[in-house]
């Protein structure tokens, strides 16, 4: 499924690379509008990635700001030219910064937040706002809600390298190639991590979902 749209995606990514190059040229000239255009273009994937990585909207917001402030600093100092569009996309570059910041944040906090508090947090409620729509079967909704809750918890429980792959490939719809560019590893590594992560998630769902439904 991932490889079916390769040609289409390649063409699209080429367009993005070209416009990324233009954007980069403007950033080098310290164009304020270019910075805002960069933010408008990549704010969503960065924010969502950080949201899934940290499990917190407020932390994701803070770290998203840090990602773009890092670009702004580089722009002011003149080191934004160190980014090479030939080696990777601007999105991959930003996601790389976001990933490093998420890891730093994890190290900085250095304490395991009880998952119940994460799952029962306003984040989860906000996530589920869209879920409960009128006109759907109540029992079906309840089952899916419970399963989603278990899945969300299972994703947060995954080791960081598996979680990154699941978030990028499943929740952010990145191809293996793009994920490999962000995580700086081979596509084979991404594929194996994805396979392993899905096996872990399926096992957790199998184990926890019936209890969650019953409860």
């Amino acid at each position: 499924m991932l490889w079916s749209g390769t040609r289409k995606r390649t063409k699209r990514s080429k367009d993005v690379i070209e416009s990324d190059a233009d954007l980069l040229a403007r950033l080098k000239k310290r164009d304020e509008r270019a910075f805002l255009a960069l933010y408008d273009r990549y704010r969503r994937p960065v924010y969502r990635f950080l949201m899934h990585m940290t499990g917190s909207f407020s932390t994701a917001e803070e770290l998203t700001q840090e990602v773009f402030v890092a670009i702004l600093d580089a722009m002011c100092v003149g080191t934004v030219g160190q980014f090479d569009p030939g080696k990777g996309s601007m999105e991959g570059y930003l996601m790389g910064i976001a990933r490093n910041l998420a890891r730093e944040e994890h190290r900085r906090v250095n304490r395991l937040q009880p998952l119940d508090t994460v799952v029962e947090s306003p984040e989860w409620d906000r996530l589920m706002e869209k879920f409960s729509q009128p006109g759907q079967d109540a029992s079906m909704l309840l089952t899916t809600h419970s399963e989603l809750k278990v899945l969300y918890r299972a994703i947060l429980e995954l080791p960081a390298h598996y979680r990154e792959v699941v978030i990028l490939c499943s929740l952010e719809e990145k191809s293996y190639q793009q994920a490999a560019a962000v995580l700086r590893c081979s596509e084979g590594t991404i594929a194996s991590r994805m396979n392993r992560a899905k096996a872990l998630l399926a096992a957790k769902l199998r184990r926890l979902a019936p209890d969650a439904v019953n409860s």
Binding site: L36, C76, K130, L171, E173, A202
Partner: protein, 219 residues
């Protein structure tokens, strides 16, 4: 076997479905306030950067100013220290010179016998001759250099000693207490000293032959 593979496939399919659902549910955008904050920050940075090229061109100015200030500070400190070191020395020299006008010369002349001043340590190096060369004249062995200490409680009105000198032994601690610059390392060691007596019979000066002659202790 087949059932288990089927159930695994079903689990995977359900997982994919749930992931897809979760992806749809988590399509959030960052708050608009974040964009405003970044815009504000960017405009502030850019305003600050407007003088950037000039600042880049004059990048050497700041270190140069710092170096200049440091050099001035060092020069001032050195000047102050030199001033504090030199002025008291000059003053004391002037004072000594002024005092020296009323006092007999430290180096005795060939005609006049050495006179001691109360409380003043003088070093008698023998009769002074006219220096013909820069080399110091050889000190005659018969008249070795002496360290003379005039005793402060002597009556200066009475003429100097009669030349009656008695040889005594004094401990170094006594010499130190009188103000003679001798080593305090071995304070109980005894040295040979000459005591000059005045007309009234009181001691006027103590003179030490240099180098000091130490007395052997009797065990």
């Amino acid at each position: 076997m087949r059932e288990s593979s089927q159930s695994k496939a079903a689990e995977r399919a359900r997982l994919e479905q749930l992931l897809h659902r979760l992806r749809d549910l988590s399509q959030f955008d960052p708050p608009p306030a974040l964009r405003e904050r970044l815009e504000d920050l960017c405009s502030r940075r850019m305003t600050g950067q407007s003088s950037g090229p000039r600042a880049t061109r004059l990048f050497w100015l700041r270190p140069a100013l710092a170096a200049l200030l440091m050099a001035i500070a060092v020069a001032l400190t050195a000047g102050l220290l030199t001033h504090r070191w030199t002025v008291p020395r000059l003053r004391s020299r002037d004072q000594r010179l002024q005092a020296g006008r009323d006092l007999p010369p430290i180096l005795p002349s060939a005609d006049s016998p050495p006179r001691s001043v109360p409380g003043r340590i003088t070093i008698n190096v023998g009769p002074a001759g006219r220096l013909k060369s820069r080399r110091s004249p050889p000190v005659p062995k018969s008249d070795p250099a002496r360290m003379v200490l005039s005793l402060p409680y002597s009556n200066s009105e009475i003429a100097a000693g009669t030349g009656v000198t008695i040889r005594v032994s004094m401990s170094q601690s006594e010499l130190i207490s009188l103000g003679l610059p001798v080593s305090a390392m071995v304070a109980d060691r005894h040295v040979v000293a000459d005591l000059t007596l005045g007309d009234d019979g009181l001691p006027r000066a103590i003179s030490l032959p240099l180098p000091l002659e130490y007395l052997m202790e009797k065990k």
